[in-house]
Structures are given as C-alpha cells and as structure tokens.
C-alpha cells in the first residue's frame, strides 16, 4: 500500500479528478453547486491532461442538462466511458435519459452535488429532493458523507458500474460537502487502475453500437412484451449491492479505507439508533461518540448504497439490542406516508419481521444546519414514552407542531480543535486566503483541516463568512462553527449590521480591521460588541488592513494582511514557519499573475507585522448602540421577518412567519440600506445640463432626477439642492411657478460604481476634470444626503402623461426596480430599471433563472417595487429552461381574463352607463394619457358594479382591472435565450402572442461563473472556451426575424440610449411578439465596469454589436422591416477587445491565434453588416405590392 498523499481540496475537485481519469467523454451543463466539477474537467482537458488510458477526455458543454444526458447516453451506446455532473433541476432534466441508460444496462456514473429542487422558492443549497426524484430511474445510488468519501465513492462507483452494468448516481451534499475544503488522502492512478476490471471494460466495449456488428436498441415495444422485458434485467439490479461491497473490499485493500453498504457506529449494543445518509452523519457520529462516553446506549447507521436497498445488509447493522429507530430524511414528500429512507427502513424491517418502532423526521432542507444539538434532540425523542411518529428537527414549527426542541447552546466539539471565523467582504480576498490557510495547515503542518464558506445573496458588497477548523483529530463537524476561538472581522462596518461576536467563545481572540487606532478601537465598537468583549474576556486586536494593503500597492485586497494576522495571533503554526508558508502560498496563488503581485503581497506581509496592535479594553456602554436593522417606517412584515433575515437570524423564524405558497411582498430592498459605497456622486447643479444620463445608466436606481414644484420645497432639509429646470417643455409646475430640477443620490444604496460619473457629459470649461457629478468620499456626505434622500422620496411623481418620449424625460418616470444586489456597475439592471419606468405599473415579468432572478428575487430583500398607487411589476420565476413558455402562459391568462371581462361587460352593458362601457371596450390605451383614462373608467366601473347584483357583476369586479392594458415581458440572460430556453423562446415568438422578451446578453452564463453560451463572441475566453471561442456568436435576432411576425431589436444603452429607449417603446407597442437583445457588460468580461458604457460604444462602433430594429409593421407601409441604427464599423474589433480581460487572456495564451481571431472577428462583423445592409434594403412582398 503506497504511503498516503494528503491534499487539501473540496469534494467537487476531488470527485472531478477521479471521474476525469476514468472517462473518455464528459458532457456538461453548468449548475450550482456542481459546476466546478465540469469546469475542472474542462480545464484539464484544455491542458491536455490524459485519463488513465493516456487519452485526453473530450469535455463538451451542452445546451442543457437534457442535452448533456442525451450526449452521454449516445456516448455510452457508442462504447465510450462517459460521465457528467449535475444537481437539482439539472438532474430532473436528465431523468428521461437516465431511465433509458438504466434500462439498457449501460455502465455510467452521474455525480450529483445534491441540491434542493425549487418548489415554493428556488434554493441553490442542499437537500436530497433532487436525488430522491431520481430513485425510480433504475440507477444505483451511492451517497458520500464527506470530502474523503466523495472522492473514494467516485472511484468505487466508476469501478462498480462497469461490473454491475447498472448505472450509478453518486451523490454528496451540495455546498456542505461539494464546497467544503478538507484534508484528504488522494487516490493515485495505479489505485484507480487496480479498481477497474479490464474484463468488464472489454465487455462494455463489445456491446457498443457498430455497423460492423449491428444490433438495434431503443425499439418500441407493445403490451405483449414490454413487461417481461422490463423484468429481464432484475438479476443485474439484484447483483449491484454485491458488486459494490466487493469493490469496497478491493478499495480497502488498496487504500486501507474500508467502507460498507451500511455502517453502524456507536455503542456495540445500542438501544436507540438514528439512521441517516449524507453529511449529517458527521454531526451524528460526533453526537453518538459523545453520548456513548456518557454511558448512553446509542448508535448511528450511515446509509451508503441507498439503491438498490440491500435489506439483508441493512438489517444486519441492527443488533437485537435495538429498541427504537429514528430515520432522518433530508427531503420532503408532501402526502407520503413518510419520506423515502424512512419508508425503505420500515419496509425492510417488515420484510424480515423485525418489529422495531420507527419514527421518521425531516431535517436540513436547503442546507438548514444539522448539529449535534439536533441529533441529541432526536435521541431524546426516542427516549420518550411515546415519541412523535413524524417530526422535523432544526426549525421551530409553531403551525403543525412537528418540530423537536433542541438546545441551541449545546456544544461537544473537542477543545483541541481550533475554530476560527472570518467575516469578510466578497471583494477583499478573505475566502481565497482562507482556502490557502487550510492548505498550509493541512499540508504543511499535518493537522486535520476543514474550511466551509458562507456567502450572502448579493453580488455587490457581498458578505462572506469563513468557518475554519484545525486539529489533531479527524474533523467530522459538518455544521457551521458555533463557538469560535478566533473571530476576525475584516470590515468594521459589519459590526453595525451583524452580531459578529455572537459565536465568540469565552477567551477567544477578536481581530478587527479598522482605521481606528488601537487606543480608541474599543470605544468605537458598537455597545453590544463592547459588552461581548468584556463579558467573554476576549483578546482584542486591530490592524488598519486597508492602509497596509494600500501601502503595499494592493488597493483594498487585504487577504495577505489578515491571513498574516491570523497566523500571528492564533499560534496554529510557529510564527516564522507561518510567515514562510504564507509567502509560499502567495507565490503559488498569485505567481501566475506575475512577480509584481507576489512582491506586493510579500510587502504587505512585512508591513502587517509592524501594524498589528493589541487593544486596551475600556468600560462597557461607551459605544453607540447598533442601529436598527431596518427603519421604523418599514412595514410590519419587514420588521418581523425581513429584518430578522437581514441580521443573519433567519434560522430563528418559526414556520408561522412565512407565507404558505412562496408569495412575498415586493419592494423590500429600500429598507435594507446597506451603505456599501466608499464614494458616492456629488452634484454641481450649476454645471449640470440636466441630460439625465447618469440616472439612466445607474444600475441600482440610486441616483435619480426629479422635477419639483417649488411650492413643495418648503419642507426641504437644509442643503437640499435644486436648480431651475432648463426646459420649457413641461410648462409650469402646478403652483404656477417654474419647475425646479433636482438630482439626488441615495447614499446608503449607491454601490459607488462610478458609471454615472463616466457617462456625465458636462465638464467644467475651466477645469474639465470636474464634471457635473464627481465621486467623493461618502462619510462626510452621508448624513446630509440621507436627509436629502428621505425628503426626495416624499416628492410627488410627475404626471406620466405629461412627459415627452425621450431619454431625458424617461428618467423623470419613477423606477420600479431599485437597489438590487447586482454587481456594482452591472450592465443588465439599467435596462430593467428603464423597462419598469416605461411600463412598470402594468408589468408582469416571467424571469428565467440566472443573475436576473438572483438580484431580482433572492431573499431577504427584492428590488421590484411599487408606485404610490401600489402598482408595480408582478414578478415570478418558474425555471431556467421554460421561461418563455411560462411567460406565454401568463400572457394567455391575461388574455383569458380580458376576454372574460369584455364578455361580462357586454353582458352587463344595459345596466351600466353606455359611454363608460363603450370607452372600456374600445379605448386605445396607446398613450399614458389613454391608459390613465382607462384606469379612471375601470374605477368608475368598480363603483358602478357596487350597486349591481348578480354573479356577472361580482365576476366582473374580479377581473375589471384586466381591462387596463397589461404587459408581459420575459426577462433572462443569454444562457436562457440562446441555449437552454431557446426552443421555448423560438416557439413563443412563432405564436404571434403579444409576449415581449428582454434578453440581457452578457455573452456568458454570468450567474454560475462565466461559462460560454452560444452568445459568447468570437475571440473571448470563457469557461468551456478557455483558449478563446473560435466560432462567431449565434445571431439570435436574425433567427427571430425569420418569422417575419416578431419585432426584433438589438440595443446597447451605453452606446445609443435613444435607440434603446425607442426599441423598448416599439417592442411594447408592437401588437405581437417582440425580442429585444440588450448588450450587457458584465463582471465576467474582466474590466473596470465604470467604463461599461464606453465599452458598449466601442462594441457598436467596431461592428461587434450592431444596433437595429426590425418592425414587421413597416412592411405594410412599403418599407423594409429592418432598420440599421448603427453605422458601418469605423473601428476594428481590436479597439473594443483590447480593453477586456476575457479577450486579453486569449492573447496572452497565444498571441498568434489571437491575431487570427481578431481578423476573424472583423470578418464576422463585416459579413454580418453586409447581410444586414442587404436585408435593410429588402422590401417584402405585401398584398398591395404583388410582383
């Protein structure tokens, strides 16, 4: 047996390493939390790393998980070893092929990072609802509980499937295991080779489809034979457990790590036993060990091979001493007698005639923690005279009373385990450096090590919490740290928003990054934190890490600084060795960026040691109390529920706090006030030309313009600035005075991206560096601007009917999308905000899963909001793949209700004023004024209906609002529109239904981390196109134009805002389907997003992103439907591409190839232009213009 080689990695990487080496074809589609497995394989494949048979596996990205399953199915039939990785909805899309693959007895492994299937809401986190949905496919299901097991079971499943011929679903818990960093023993190639049976492999090859020995598979069978044929494979399935156990034995012989189908741990003669599978068994084992040492006769059974369920092997784990069993399921099956594992256990016991009472409970849905306290609560329940037959654990169910109480304070972690918590900002490198720290401690110091990372749902100003454990003994604590011996807060303002010290153990070390000097650091703490420091006897240290990083030339990248502090203070390693290892880690991590980055980080390490200070403690109560989470003015639901979630205490909310069907109030981001900007725009009203471009481009609706009646300024706070409105177009204000104009920033909602300042065209003639808006440090301005913003929010909105139809005027319309969690400088959100300004009060949005759905609908707070009348966008997300169909359904529903309303109105016409009915039925609703009139008519109708009796009147009252025009928009990214949802989008466009699609095209799958889509442009590097995409971007617009009945536009707000506005207006007004494809710069393009508008201009002027509008209505007027809105390219592709990292990486990798790609990009742009120019001259034949 070779000596063990320890590596520190997460389960995704560990599993991918095994699967890659044992596969020839890898077909993929990105989905959280499984994406990193596919990405790792793609990178290895791009680097020509061979598999076990000295061949580089083909790694292909497909258009959906359905496509990936089809591709691996075909590869298997062709005789190639294939694998894939997926989770959640992705697994569900694979189900049809999985039935086929199992039915055809094809050896295959799908690796699943188990993730919740969306129900009342979407969750990227872990439970077993996805894998349980696959348990009828005929796949064997092998469950790993830890990073080590995930790696080992990957190997065992690949080996066993070849011999068993039954395909395997190997799963492990998403995030908790897939993303947990741990020190594990790796598997070398020889060990893997030794596991794989050459004979079984040869037999697999011999079964391949080939015209040299033709057979037919996938026949259609009739009632006479299907049943019997289905039963013909029984023996193969029956034999799976034996194959798995034998493979486990061989694996043990090779590695020393012995596994069994079911394993019991704990007391040898247990009376109470808990059965579970997955990562929860780590916490369960800790608890069992702790209880056994205290004399309790308890045990746990971990289920490894869930399907086929080997009754004999399972029952053998239960000695005669067992008196009661509890089965824990990490899934929920409403309406079932019990959850799947529970049912199998009950059935198995019945089969063998063991009459042991069994209770079943749910735990851990969507990564809800499962802790020793909860495991202990289940054992306690088993001890009761009449335990609950069904229960939940981990929540407080005050509605159906199912939940078990547990002791939140219970802690059994051994004191020798170092537990460290780090609160950081997403952009400060905290998580990355903590991954290095684990490697340092795991691989150099030889300690057991574990790292787990928690992220919030924001992309701008995201908060990360790193949970690191180190110790001499194996770490089985599969839950977040509850009592930390080291707590670091890498961003002082977090202390105002989170109870950072809640988990600090007595005597723990507290490290704070703050600009406040050590002697004043204690008094600067919030009062609550001061009390905790004193009561818990914490050692308190500070460092001004931003200053140190800045001195070292690293900007705000403080990871090396804080990492150095951790090693200095924690004593995990001798200090000199720790410093040397940090330096090495820096070289390893950043060496590829170049020596300068390494040297600056080294400098930061040196400077750190001179700047770390111990803080003298003062008296409690000298600090300010932590401000309320949300303002007093927030609604009750926000106060009770949202605020609790914002504090990071959502786990404490009971079941009764929640809506039963996933319906939540909108407009909650405005209460969050995250205050993440370091700089905000300041306005020079004398210089401003009132173009409103700043408000238009703002991704977060945090700089707004407003026209104000001077009469309303009496209550304005001191320092609220207005100026005369320069235009006469709106006449005078209601008071008769000329309008005033104000530009106001929301200081706590701005992200400081700087886009507004970049697009501002008004420069000071004498000092052109000074613009009408400049960025300035926020702190001196915050209080004043808070007051100003509060006043600004009270100002009445302008009459929508009065404003002109131009860019400037559009920004006087109230945005009904604000303060989202999108990235600072996001290129997508300005379009959404504009859409809500145009039609937000009658807008229904069907939103494909992706960035748009995460910043659009990820709790705790959501950005779509309402106007003063309580109207605003109604928003829903169905899935990723079905968004067009989902929106089409919404549209059909609107239409059905409008038809119903008209029918009822007609039926009641003789009881209602004739002019009212006529107006309601025939009004055009083409303008804001006409819509306002229709709303007034509907109001009048409702009043009139009050005096009418009968069902028709009552039913008309229910649908009367539908008589006001509604607008259904599909919103999604290019991954949806170009790839996974293309079929549906294509179909919906073909129907002629008045459904509008807004495709926010970032040219990659942005939300899952930049995988290529068919929208990825030629020459760009993306995941799955590492070397730079050699094919041109799919022309989605051209495909849509081919129907001839759809309005199609290509827009780029930063390049030509007037055209973008016109396109959205025209798409909205078009009496049929519309597709608007919007260029959206993105963090995945790797450049400073404050320059996003400029890059959009370059994309247009280089011909990379042509602007056009295709309006079928023009055909009837004898005009070509296609109008080109951008001139022939006057720049080269290089002029656009040179500014973005996604292209530069390709150049760095292979300059010559990049030069060829540049030429190809120019040629592609020229060809596209030539084609469009021809199309723009085509006068289609109409009835009037027959040839």
């Amino acid at each position: 047996m070779p000596s063990p080689r320890f590596v520190t990695l997460d389960a995704n990487e560990a599993v991918a390493s095994v699967a890659y080496r044992l596969s020839e074809v890898i077909a993929l589609y990105p989905i959280t939390p499984a994406s990193p497995m596919g990405e790792a394989c793609d990178e290895w494949s791009a680097a020509s790393r061979p598999n076990l048979w000295n061949q580089v596996p083909q790694t292909v990205e497909m258009q959906s998980e359905g496509g990936a399953a089809g591709a691996v199915h075909g590869a298997l039939q062709g005789g190639a070893l294939a694998t894939t990785f997926t989770a959640s909805q992705g697994l569900l899309l694979m189900l049809p092929n999985m039935f086929k693959i199992a039915g055809e007895l094809s050896p295959f492994v799908v690796h699943v990072a188990a993730r919740t299937v969306a129900t009342h809401g979407l969750s990227i986190f872990c439970d077993h609802s996805d894998v349980m949905a696959a348990r009828t496919t005929g796949f064997a299901m092998l469950c790993a509980s830890s990073v080590q097991e995930a790696q080992d079971f990957a190997a065992i499943s690949h080996a066993a499937t070849l011999e068993a011929r039954v395909p395997f679903l190997h799963f492990f818990d998403g995030f908790r295991t897939s993303h947990e960093y741990a020190r594990v023993v790796s598997i070398d190639d020889d060990t893997l080779k030794g596991l794989v049976s050459d004979e079984a492999l040869s037999a697999f090859r011999a079964r391949k489809l080939t015209p040299d020995a033709p057979v037919i598979r996938g026949t259609a069978q009739n009632p006479d034979t299907f049943f019997q044929a289905r039963e013909a494979a029984n023996r193969w399935h029956d034999a799976v457990p034996g194959h798995v156990q034998r493979t486990m034995e061989r694996f043990a012989a090779a590695t020393g790590r012995q596994y069994r189908l079911f394993e019991r741990f704990g007391h040898p003669e247990p009376e109470r036993v808990i059965i579970a599978m997955g990562s929860a068994t780590g916490a369960l084992q800790e608890t069992v060990d702790w209880l056994v040492t205290r004399g309790e006769k308890v045990a746990g059974v971990v289920v490894r091979l869930f399907r086929p369920f080997d009754v004999e092997a399972f029952v053998a784990t239960l000695p005669a001493s067992v008196q009661r069993l509890a089965v824990l399921d990490r899934t929920k099956e409403p309406g079932a007698v019990g959850e799947p594992l529970f049912q199998d256990v009950v059935t198995a016991l019945a089969e063998v005639g063991r009459a042991i009472p069994v209770i079943g409970g749910r735990y851990g849905l969507s990564s809800k923690e499962f802790t020793p306290a909860m495991a202990r609560a289940v054992f306690d329940e088993l001890n009761k005279p009449t335990p609950r037959r069904r229960f939940t654990v981990g929540i407080t169910d005050d509605v159906t009373g199912l939940s078990l109480p547990f002791d939140e304070a219970f802690d059994l972690e051994p004191p020798e385990t170092v537990r460290a918590l780090f609160y950081g900002l997403g952009s400060d490198g905290t998580v990355s450096s903590n991954k290095q720290t684990i490697k340092i401690i795991g691989e150099y110091a030889g300690h057991e090590a574990q790292g787990f990372f928690v992220y919030d749902s924001k992309k701008a100003g995201a908060v990360t919490v790193s949970h690191l454990r180190f110790g001499p003994r194996p770490i089985r604590s599969t839950y977040k740290i509850r009592h930390a011996s080291f707590v670091a807060c890498h961003y002082a303002p977090l202390l105002e928003r989170h109870d950072v010290l809640a988990t600090a153990a007595p005597g723990a070390t507290f490290l704070l990054n703050t600009a406040t000097p050590a002697e004043r650091a204690f008094e600067a703490l919030p009062r609550e934190a001061q009390r905790q420091v004193l009561e818990k006897g914490l050692r308190f240290f500070v460092i001004d890490a931003f200053k140190v990083a800045s001195q070292a030339g690293l900007g705000r990248h403080i990871s090396a600084v804080m990492q150095t502090c951790f090693f200095e203070l924690s004593g995990v390693l001798p200090k000199d060795e720790a410093r040397a290892r940090i330096r090495e880690a820096v070289e390893k991590a950043y060496g590829k960026r170049g020596s300068e980055v390494v040297e600056r980080n080294h400098r930061a390490i040196e400077l750190t040691l001179a700047n770390l200070r111990s803080v003298p403690l003062g008296s409690a109560g000298s600090g300010r109390p932590r401000p309320p989470t949300v303002p007093q003015a927030a609604p009750d639901f926000v106060q009770r529920v949202t605020a609790t979630m914002l504090r990071g205490e959502g786990d404490l909310l009971p079941v009764s706090a929640f809506p039963v069907d996933g319906t939540w109030p909108t407009g909650t981001t405005k209460w969050e006030r995250r205050a993440i900007a370091l700089e905000i725009p300041t306005w020079d009203e004398a210089l401003c030309i009132q173009c409103n471009k700043c408000a238009l481009i703002c991704p977060h609706a945090s700089i707004r313009s407003q026209l104000i009646d001077p009469a309303g300024l009496t209550a304005a706070p001191e320092g609220f600035v207005t100026t005369d409105f320069r235009s006469k177009e709106l006449g005078t204000a209601p008071s008769g005075a000329p309008w005033k104009y104000a530009l106001q920033v929301a200081p706590d909602d701005c992200t400081g991206c700087g886009l507004c300042v970049q697009v501002c065209p008004a420069r000071d003639k004498a000092t052109p560096r000074h613009k009408a808006i400049d960025m300035a440090p926020v702190e001196p301005l915050r209080e004043r601007e808070r007051r100003n913003w509060a006043f600004f929010e009270t100002l009445p909105s302008i009459d929508r009917a009065a404003v002109k139809d131009d860019v400037k005027a559009s920004q006087f319309l109230e945005p009904l999308f604000e303060f989202s969690g999108a990235c600072a400088g996001c290129g997508e959100t300005p379009y959404l905000k504009l859409l809500t300004q145009l039609v937000g009060d009658r807008l229904l949005i069907a939103n494909a899963t992706g960035c748009t759905s995460i910043y659009g609908g990820n709790l705790p707070t959501t950005p779509y909001t309402t106007n003063r009348d309580g109207r605003g966008p109604a928003w829903a997300n169905s899935l990723f793949e079905d968004n067009a169909e989902f929106g089409y359904g919404l549209s059909l529903s609107v239409e059905a209700q409008q038809t119903q309303a008209r029918l009822l109105l007609t039926a009641l016409a003789n009881q209602l004023p004739a002019a009212l009915v006529d107006g309601l039925l025939t009004a055009s609703q083409d303008t804001e004024a006409a819509i306002a009139e229709q709303r007034a008519r509907v109001q009048a109708l409702k009043e009139a209906l009050k005096s009418l009796r009968g069902d028709d009147a009552r039913r008309l009252g229910l649908v009367a609002d539908m008589l006001v025009k509604k607008s259904v928009w599909l919103v999604g990214g290019d991954g949806w529109a170009y790839d996974i949802g293309f079929g549906g989008l294509d179909h919906v466009l073909s129907t002629g239904a008045p459904v509008k699609a807004l495709v926010l095209d970032t040219e990659v799958y942005s939300n899952t981390g930049g995988q290529q889509s068919k929208a990825t442009p030629l020459g760009a590097s993306a995941k799955f196109a590492v070397a730079g995409k050699a094919q041109g971007k799919k022309d989605l617009g051209l495909l849509a134009m081919s129907y001839g009945n759809a309005y199609v536009a290509s827009i780029a707000l930063g390049a030509k805002d007037g055209q973008a506005l016109k396109a959205l207006r025209e798409a909205e007004a078009f009496p049929g389907p519309a597709l608007v494809i919007a260029y959206s710069h993105c963090i995945a393009h790797a450049f400073d997003l404050k320059l996003g508008a400029e890059q959009q201009r370059l994309a247009v002027e280089s011909g990379i992103w042509p602007l056009y509008r295709f309006d079928p209505r023009r055909t009837e007027a004898g005009e070509p439907p296609l109008q080109l809105d951008s001139p022939a390219p006057k720049l080269k592709a290089r002029d656009f591409m040179k500014n973005e990292g996604r292209f530069r990486l390709v150049e760095l990798k292979d300059a010559k190839r990049y030069a060829a790609l540049l030429d190809a990009a120019d040629a592609h742009a020229a060809r596209r232009r030539a084609l469009y120019e021809q199309l723009a001259r085509v006068h289609p034949v109409t009835k009037e213009r027959q040839p």
Partner: protein, 333 residues
C-alpha cells in the same frame, strides 16, 4: 568593394541599417523577413515595466478580486494557469528570435523603478539578448525635483544596470536635457556603450469637443531627421560611444545624412511599418549606390564626416542657424 560594416555597442554589424524598437518583432515571420531583407540586427520592442505591472495588478483586481465572493461563482473566467502575465512572453520572444535568426538581437527596456530596471535587464540578458537598449522615457512633472536630480537618478539606474549585467548597454535618450553633451559625457563615464538619438515621445492630442486627451500614434516623417542630425553632429566629436540615429530615416539619403552627422548605425521603424520589411533592402541598396556613385570606400569614411568638428561650416549647427533661417523665411514671405 565598399566596406559597409560598422559597429554598434561593440557588436560588428555587416551594415548600419536595422529596425529600431517596434512591434515588428512580435511576429517571428516578420523578423525572418527582416533578416531576409538584409537587416543587420534586430531590436526588440521595449519591455515597459509600467505596462507589466499595470497588467498584473489589473489581473489581480479583475480576476482575483471577484473570486470566491459569490456562492454560485467561485470565479468568473477560466483559471489562467498557463497564461503569461509579466515578462515571460517578451523573454520567450527574445529567445525565439535568437534561435530563428543569425543576427545580433538587442533587447529594449523601458523601466520606471530601480528594482524594475535591474530585474528585467537581467532577465533580458538571460533570455539571450546580445545587448540592451535602455529607454529613459521620463516625464519629470514634480516642480520640487530639479533637473540635476533627475539626471542623477537616471545615472544611478544606469550604473546599477551596468553592474548587474555583462552585455553592452545603450541608452535611448530624449532631446530634452539642459546640457545634453554634459549628460552624455556622464553616461560615457558610467560605461554606456552607445546612444540612440532620439526617443520619439508619443504626445497625446486634445479633443476640444469632449475636453479629453486623445492617444495618437503618428509615424515619423523626414522632418524629424533634422533634430537628430544636429545632435549627432554636436555629440559625435566628443564621445567614443557608438551612436544610433533613430527617427526620420525614410530614404537612403537619410541614412547617408545620419552617418555623415556622426551615427554609426541607423534605426528605422516608421518606414518599415509603412512599407514592410523590404524597406530595409531598399535603404541598403540606396546607401550602397550612394557610396558607389560618390566613391566612398567605407562607412567609416562617411561616419561623422559632417559633424561639428569636421564639417565645412560648423555654425550651421549652432544657434546662428536659427537666426538665419528665420530671416530668410521672413524675407521670403
């Protein structure tokens, strides 16, 4: 047979015409075409320390900064393991050119910090360059730093580079020194082997509509030769360093003039960028023809023949020339 050979930085060249620092060397095929066209040496484009540093920091900011910040996306671009940031690509190109052509290869370095100068100079030497051209592109903008300090710092850097590498070093200068001859004397004293006259300082233009600066890249024209001729003529009598004329050489007669003024070699960039590598052979043919027609025996005979020490009317190079020129122009108007 006319002896066209000359010397540059202690290297014997078969003739005095070769490309100056430019992107021509980025493509190996172009380099080979330059060799085929007869170029007597290859000068690498400048390795810009600032550019390298800026790009590394940009990668750090835009790739590492957003990494591990969001649950669904541990990164936003593929791992850049085998992408080359920093000087690697440049150094590899030096080595590649060394292997591809049988010509002296001269590295070029534009540094900004003492550390950068030393580090990259060494790396360029290790990559196989026969000599190194240091580009002293400096824009002193601090009113508190007197000219003497600027010169002192530059000399310090040059001395350190000289000490750290063995290959000969040339310095590419701007024309803007209080006393160029005095500074040149100090350079010679510091052991510099040659001077390149002059750096073409790319100047930003103004966009008066948008009130912004425009980056413009304009190729040289023949009018720029005159400044070089004057300073070659003034400096060459006083120095033993070899001198290169860089900027404004577009015709064979320009080569002749540069050599007559005191250069040992001429670097051509704009003309080659404009007309292609064959421009080198056209210039060479023209030079040879001139020498034949005018019965010169060697480049040595030509070089410096019209410098300040040897030309018939040295006052033409001096201040009075300005007076004369203005008067004639005025009179002509």
């Amino acid at each position: 047979m006319i002896d066209l050979s000359t010397r540059w930085l202690g290297l014997k060249l078969k003739h005095p015409i070769f490309p100056g620092a430019s992107p021509l060397v980025d493509d190996l095929d172009t380099v080979k075409k330059l060799e085929d066209a007869g170029a007597s040496a290859i000068t690498m484009h400048s390795l810009f320390e600032e550019q390298l540093v800026a790009e590394q920091l940009a990668a750090h900011r835009f790739l590492d900064g957003p990494a591990d910040a969001f649950a669904e996306a541990p990164s936003w671009l593929p791992s850049t393991g085998d992408f080359k940031l920093g000087p690697d690509a440049y150094l590899e190109q030096v080595s590649r050119i060394r292997r591809a052509v049988d010509l002296p290869v001269i590295g070029s370095l534009n540094g900004t910090t003492p550390g950068g100068w030393l580090k990259y100079a060494k790396l360029i030497e290790q990559a196989g360059a026969h000599a190194l051209e240091l580009n002293l592109y400096d824009l002193p903008g601090d009113p508190k730093v007197p000219g003497a300090d600027v010169e002192h710092q530059q000399l310090d850097v040059i001395r350190q580079v000289q000490e750290s590498i063995r290959i000969p070093v040339a310095v590419k200068l701007s024309p803007f020194y209080s006393s160029l001859p005095a500074f040149v004397a100090k350079l010679e004293h510091a052991g510099v082997a040659g001077l390149v006259l002059f750096n073409r300082l790319y100047q930003p233009d103004l966009d008066v509509e948008t009130l912004s600066l425009k980056r413009v890249l304009s190729l040289s024209d023949r009018s720029e030769l005159l400044l070089r001729l004057r300073w070659l003529a003034i400096l060459s009598p006083h120095t033993r360093m070899t001198l290169a004329c860089s900027g404004g050489v577009h015709e064979p007669v320009d080569v002749v003039k540069a050599l007559m003024a005191g250069a040992q070699v001429t670097q051509v960039v704009s003309a080659v960028l404009h007309h292609g590598p064959q421009m080198v052979s056209l210039l060479l043919d023209g030079l040879r023809r001139f020498l034949e027609e005018h019965e010169y025996a060697s480049i040595a005979q030509l070089s410096g023949s019209m410098n300040l020490a040897r030309c018939p009317d040295p006052s033409g190079y001096e201040r009075t020339n300005y007076v004369k020129l203005l008067q004639s122009w005025h009179g002509g108007g």
